[in-house]
């Protein structure tokens, strides 16, 4: 029980710290991502151990896709706009990620192979 409490407390404390930092600095960087960076730094510095984090982090990562479902259903709010612009929206949904996936992965492969040859 204690290990679950400790694990969840670490995650929530990082999140709370990040929210406080963003609140007082007034920046627009999302607090969860800042909290992730804070937690990573704590792990790298050895202040937080992997085994402290695992009890809660592993199950939450395992079910992470569930948390997107309510937002995903939100598209039904814009059915009329989607209907009148569906060719444009479909093109964006397919072409934007496909071109980004291909470009980024190809550039990575190119530079990795150049680095390996050097």
């Amino acid at each position: 029980m204690m290990k679950y409490l400790l694990s969840s407390a670490i995650i929530l404390l990082c999140l709370a710290c990040a929210k406080l930092i963003m609140h007082f600095t007034g920046g627009s960087f999302p607090a969860p991502l800042l909290a992730m960076v804070i937690l990573l730094v704590l792990l790298l510095a050895g202040i937080v151990k992997e085994e402290h984090l695992k009890p809660c982090a592993s199950p939450i990562l395992n079910v992470m896709p569930i948390f997107f479902i309510p937002a995903g259903v939100g598209f039904i709010e814009h059915l009329n706009l989607i209907k009148s612009n569906w060719p444009f929206l479909m093109s964006v949904i397919f072409i934007v990620p496909a071109s980004t996936l291909l470009l980024v992965s190809s550039v990575m492969v190119f530079f990795k192979s150049r680095k390996n040859n050097d």
């Binding site: 627009s28 990573l40 990562l61 569930i66 072409i95 071109s99 680095k115």
Partner: protein
């Protein structure tokens, strides 16, 4: 409008969880990789719930309000991504500059391609601004889309669909163009398909997931900086 008894709305969260777990159990039984992608449990859960809400004429606002707990849990889940990131950080540290450069390139490409498509289809500026920041995690997309004068809720839905498409077909695309490197796949998935892509990357391989997590985090930071500058520049120069 069909009214759902107020005391039944609390069923939203248990129904979402049960539906997702059921569909995931079904999905893991699929041996064919294409069938496994098509029966993605998030995609099917969204489709089933959307159909239920539309069919029974139930208001989305009520559904969103009563499933807030799940949306709230998204934040600690993003924090927990530090764990796979740490586990693979040793491989990432050597390539940090390269990842930073390729992420920036990916973000510029996503905004530029979306802008070109909006010019080609002659859509209103409001819609064009809604698709400027899609290759990023939902909270950043909301903030950036708002700042550009777009419809943030539409952007959020598009972000989810892009993530779903990445999760469904991203690895098929990599196999098609014979890109097998874990680093390249991970960085591309994290840059183009944010957290849903990262979840799929984690399922594919821990190393792909770690690189995807790094790329997702860097993309969030870079999108918040690049897109608010790039989009007005594109509008002023090309329109």
């Amino acid at each position: 409008m069909t009214e759902l008894k107020p005391d039944l709305w609390w069923l939203c969260v248990p129904i979402i969880i049960a539906l997702f777990l059921l569909l995931r159990a079904f999905n893991t039984r699929m041996e064919n990789s294409a069938l496994r992608s098509i029966t993605n449990p998030v995609f099917l859960s969204i489709a089933v719930i959307a159909l239920l809400l539309i069919n029974f004429n139930l208001p989305y606002s009520e559904f969103a309000h009563h499933s807030q707990l799940l949306s709230w849990l998204l934040e600690p889940a993003i924090v927990a991504l530090a764990l796979p990131l740490y586990q693979q950080f040793i491989h990432v540290r050597k390539n940090l500059l390269l990842i930073l450069g390729t992420c920036s390139l990916g973000i510029v490409n996503a905004t530029f391609v979306a802008f070109l498509l909006s010019v080609f289809f002659k859509v209103p500026s409001e819609l064009s601004a809604s698709v400027a920041a899609l290759s990023v995690t939902t909270p950043i997309s909301l903030i950036v889309t708002d700042s550009l004068g777009g419809i943030s809720s539409l952007a959020a839905a598009m972000v989810i669909f892009i993530g779903l498409l990445g999760a469904l077909f991203g690895f098929m695309l990599f196999r098609l163009v014979k890109i097998g490197s874990h680093e390249s796949q991970g960085v591309a998935m994290g840059t183009a398909c944010h957290a849903i892509g990262t979840a799929a990357a984690l399922a594919e391989h821990a190393k792909v997931g770690a690189f995807s997590s790094v790329a997702m985090a860097l993309s969030a930071l870079l999108t918040a900086i690049i897109v608010p500058l790039l989009y007005p520049f594109l509008v002023n120069s090309l329109l």
